[in-house]
Structure formats: C-alpha cells, structure tokens
C-alpha cells in the first residue's frame, strides 16, 4: 500500500500564441487557456500506476486557478481517490510562492501527510525557477529526485528505487528513503485518456475538497522586467506557393545537395 500525493499545476496552453499583456511583464490572461502542465500529467499517471501495482491511495492537489475544477475532476475520473483544491492564493504568484503555499498547506492539514511519495512534474513551461518540487521537498525536509521515469516501491523497507533519465537514452537508478518528493519527467506508460462523459460523471458523483491556503509572506526572489517574443538569429528562408510548388522547391533543395 502506498499513499501518493500528486501536485498539479495549470499552465498556459501554448498551442495558441501567448500574447504579452500591456504591462509588458506578464501574459495577457484573455489570450491564454489554462491546461494541466504536461509533466504533471505524467506525474499523475505514474501515481495511478503505483496505486494499481501496490494498492493505496492517490490524492491530487492543485492551487485554485481558473480551469482547476476540470483538471481535478479529470484526475478523479482517471482513478485518483481524493482531489484537493487549495484556495485563497494570489493569481500570478511566483513558482516559489506557489510551491511554498502548497507545502505549508500540506503540512498543516490533517490527513494529507505523511505520504510515501509526493509526485510532481519536473518542470513546467512557465517556470522561471523550476522550483515546485525542490521547494516542497525543502519545506517538508524530504529528499528530492528529478527527471524520474520509473518508480518501484518497497513499502515494507520504506524505500523506493527510482529511474532517472539522462542524455542519449541512458537511465540511472537510485535508491531513496521514503518519504520522498519526485520530479517526474515521464510516466512508464503514456498518460491515460478519460472520455468527457466519465469526467462529467465524476463531477456528479464526487466532490472536490477545498482547503484554505496556509500562506506566509514569501520573499520576492526575482523581478521580471519584460516579456518579449524571442529574437531569432537569422531565421529560415520561407518557401511560398501552393503545396505543389513548395514540394517542388523542397525537392530542388535536396537535389542541389545530392540528397535525392
């Protein structure tokens, strides 16, 4: 039996072009739709796989931001046992402040800790400091392993063996004492899909627990002066024309280089 907490974060969906707000330092909220961070989806999947293998419970935890209910109900529909929404946080807070709010809330809320494993994505696309996992680990005084791609648990021995991803497809294996915070890079299997009907059913049958955030004044660590569209050095020569014309131009480029 393992008790797993998964920390989920919502980030702008960059399939749509993010627009910079008038202040020049943030994204225009009307230009972005929030979705669960891709790596966090893998963290949730790994947690559900652990529960299937060892028994136990999975609790999904997320800060209250727009769209969060959908994300938490989806976690329930996928097989999480509990979904906790941490409310009363400032929008647009730094990763550090958000992680600290999560960690402090976990600590003061009865029934959430101790957990054997706390899983979260290794990084999110809007992280300036990449700190969710590390800050939670520090504040809870737990070890942290990042880039995790597999977890095996020996609950009796209070330890886990985790695999980490390196360059070139190499995997490293580590032994770690439980409890531990893990930054998940990829789950052992692709994140499962749940049909919308199951999410709707979860919305009817299950409920979200709402907890007030335990916030303390966090020091500001960074100041964002400006957001901009990145300068690209050189950039591509763009091929124009109908699909036929473009295909012909590509073919010519390859022929010039002796590739066809």
């Amino acid at each position: 039996m393992v008790k797993v907490l998964v920390l989920l974060k919502l980030v702008p969906d960059v399939v749509e072009e993010p627009e910079i707000a008038a202040d020049g330092r943030s994204l225009d909220p009307s230009s972005v739709r929030l979705v669960v961070s891709e790596r966090d989806e893998h963290a949730l999947e790994e947690a559900l796989l652990l529960k299937e293998r060892y028994g136990g419970t999975v609790t999904a935890v997320a800060l209250d931001v727009p769209e969060v209910d959908d994300v938490l109900f989806t976690a329930l529909a996928k097989g999480a046992d509990r979904a906790v929404k941490v409310s009363g946080v400032e929008p647009g807070m730094s990763t550090w402040a958000a992680a600290a709010a999560l960690a402090r809330t976990l600590r003061v809320t009865p029934g959430l800790l101790p957990a054997d494993l706390i899983l979260t994505g290794v990084q999110a696309i809007d992280d300036l400091d990449g700190q969710t996992g590390p800050v939670v680990a520090r504040l809870l005084e737990l070890p942290y392993v990042s880039m995790v791609s597999r977890v095996e648990v020996d609950p009796a021995g209070h330890e886990a063996v985790v695999a980490r991803e390196y360059a070139g497809g190499v995997t490293g294996t580590f032994e770690v004492r439980l409890p531990v915070v893990l930054g998940v890079q990829s789950a052992e299997k692709p994140p499962r899909y749940v049909p919308v009907a199951r999410v709707r059913a979860a919305m009817k049958a299950q409920r979200l627990e709402v907890l007030p955030a335990a916030v303390e004044e966090e020091p500001a660590h960074l100041e964002v002066l400006q957001l901009s569209k990145p300068q690209v050095g050189g950039g591509a020569v763009m091929l124009e024309g109908s699909p036929e014309e473009v295909a012909a131009q590509i073919c010519d480029l390859l022929r010039e280089r002796g590739l066809v």
């Binding site: 702008p12 960059v14 072009e17 993010p18 910079i20 994204l27 893998h42 290794v122 809007d126 992280d127 300036l128 400091d129 990449g130 700190q131 996992g133 590390p134 800050v135 520090r138 504040l139 942290y144 990042s146 880039m147 991803e165 390196y166 360059a167 497809g169 190499v170 995997t171 490293g172 294996t173 580590f174 531990v180 890079q185 990829s186 299997k189 660590h221 960074l222 100041e223 002066l225 957001l227 901009s228 990145p230 300068q231 591509a236 020569v237 763009m238 091929l239 699909p243 036929e244 473009v246 295909a247 012909a248 590509i250 073919c251 480029l253 390859l254 022929r255 280089r257 590739l259 066809v260």
Partner: protein
C-alpha cells in the same frame, strides 16, 4: 569575493561535458564584466583528477567526497549549500541538463537564494545581472533580474560555443571541506544503456522528424514513407515518444539523441529549446509547421508555413519521381 562568478562543472561518467565549457565561456564574460574571478566548482571523489581543460577558469574549487562520483542534484545541493555562504560569489552558473536538473532550485531553496532557470544569456546591465530566459516552449523570452545575490542561474545548452570555454591550462586549485551524511537519502546504483537493436539515428544522413503535429500514431506511417523515399530514418520529439508512437531510441533532444545529419526535415515540431539542442547542428534543416511563429523557424534554414499533410504526400511523389528519373 563579491563579483566572483562560479560555474558548476558537470562531470558525467568520468568526463567533463561539453555544456560545461559553454557555461565556462559565458562565465568568463560575466567575470570580466563584474571584475571578479571565474571559479570552476568541481565536486568529485578525487582532487588529483582536476581536468586541465578547465583553463578558462581562474581557479578550481574542489570538494572531495567519495559519495560525489556521479552528479546527484540533491547531494550536490547539500555540498554547495555549505560552500556558498562561506565564499559569497555573485552568481553560480549551473548547466541546465538532465544530470543536474533540480540542483540549482534545490540549492536556492536550501539557502533562500534567487534562482533563475532556462537562461539563454546573462549579462551585466546597469550593475545588475540580467538574465534572458526562454519560456513557454521557446515562444516567449523573459528579461529577469534577481532580487539578491548570490544568485543561482540555470544555463540552457548552447549559450556560447563550447570551444570558447575549453582552454587547456591547469588552473590553480583549492580544496574546500564539506560534510556529507554517512548514508545520503538518495544513493546512486548504476546506469543502464538504452536497449540496442533499433535504428541508430545518430548515424543517419537524412532524418524525417515528427512532432505532435503528426497528430496520431497511424500518421507516423506517412513520415516512414517519406524517409524510405529519401533513404533515411524517422525520429521525433518527446511527446511522440511519450505517446509510444516511436521508440525512445528515436527521440531527438536533451534527453534523447544529439543528431548531426545532412538533412533534418521537421514536421509539426514547435522547436522547444530541449528539442532544438538535439538537432541544431544538422547541415540542412527544413521545417514544416502550420504556425508561422513556431520557434523552429528560428533554427531552420528553410521553412514552410503549411499543414504537413498537404505537403508530405506531394513531396513523397516528387522524390520518388526524381529518384526514378535519376535511375533511368
């Protein structure tokens, strides 16, 4: 030691990695600007093994401990958290790689320092360190300053040419003492090589790469067809591998393979920094993407704003015809 710039040396499997030299080159520029010295920080089991190639640095700080044989971010952070308060550098630059991922944030969290990740450049601006970071998959750049120093900076691969930071001259070295727990909570057990047997994409001259824009597993066959016509192989971005549509051996990028083919055709790949690092050295890069602002067009030599499904079938026909003509 105000103004000193430190660079954490990444040693993996006994070798100083290329990205370390890139970061040393950036560190050298910063130290010149701040008027401080550039120190390479080497954690490892033996002082005797300081690599002479670290000559870009003015000195090497060595923390010796048998537990530090392989990069282990949690342990590294514990060690650095002992050394930084004693010597107070202006900035510690850490290569942002898989092996060191988490080290900077863990260290910053331990000491309450500012941490800025995903930096593609850092310079001195009106007396402050100003970092330029790539966010949102490379679609937005942020100009960021730390609220306090020392600051921990995660530097993306490719910030400077590695040759600039690789100087053969053994710099003077100073040992620093550190305390580690007898049994650290995270312990290294070993490495496993990727399973062999599949195509080695690092040896292919022509690569057709598919990203999430390929949309479904069945569509990968279209890329296979194109690769077959070209006499090359198919590779892909991380999401395609995460979905199980291609084996892990075909992943290009920081956690996958670094490829340098004659031609890299990127189909429906946005061009996130972690992907670009794996393919930017290809001789010819052609990208097809529906989004005219996709960052991949910044590294590609030629680009097409179009639906890949409109172009690829026509391209397959053309290449087959060209081949037939050449053969007859």
């Amino acid at each position: 030691m105000a103004g000193d710039i430190w660079v954490l040396v990444e040693q993996w499997r006994g070798q100083v990695t290329d990205v370390t030299y890139e970061v040393l080159a950036l560190g050298r520029e910063l130290a010149t600007a701040t008027g401080g010295s550039l120190q390479a920080v080497l954690l490892g089991p033996g002082v005797a093994e300081v690599p002479p190639s670290l000559g870009a640095a003015d000195g090497v700080l060595v923390a010796e401990n048998t537990a530090l044989g392989e990069p282990e971010p949690d342990l590294y952070a514990l060690v650095l958290a002992q050394v930084i308060p004693r010597r107070q550098p202006e900035a510690l630059l850490i290569p942002q790689t898989n092996a060191l991922m988490g080290c900077g944030p863990l260290l910053a969290a331990r000491l309450g320092l500012s941490c800025i990740n995903s930096c593609r450049d850092v310079h001195l601006d009106q007396g402050r360190l100003l970092a330029r970071c790539l966010l949102y998959g490379g679609k937005v750049e942020a100009a960021v300053v730390p609220e306090r120093t020392p600051v921990v900076l995660g530097i993306l691969p490719g910030a400077r040419p590695r040759e600039q930071g690789r100087i053969d001259r053994t710099p003077p070295c100073a040992a620093v003492s550190v305390d580690l727990p007898a049994t650290p909570p995270v312990q290294f057990r070993g490495y496993t090589e990727p399973p062999p047997g599949d195509v080695d994409i690092t040896r292919e001259d022509v690569l057709v790469a598919v990203g999430r824009g390929i949309q479904r597993q069945e569509n990968v066959a279209l890329a296979e067809e194109l690769a077959a016509a070209l006499g090359g192989a198919v590779c892909g971005s991380r999401p395609v591998v995460d979905q199980g549509w291609l084996p892990a051996s075909r992943q290009v990028g920081t956690s996958g393979m670094i490829v340098e083919p004659q031609m890299y055709l990127a189909l429906g790949i946005s061009g996130a920094p972690e992907h670009v690092e794996g393919m930017k050295r290809a001789r010819l890069i052609i990208a097809i993407n529906t989004d005219p602002r996709a960052p991949i067009f910044g590294v590609a030599h030629y680009g097409v704003t179009a639906d890949l499904f409109d172009i690829v079938p026509l391209l397959i026909d053309r290449i087959r015809a060209a081949r037939q003509k050449a053969a007859s």
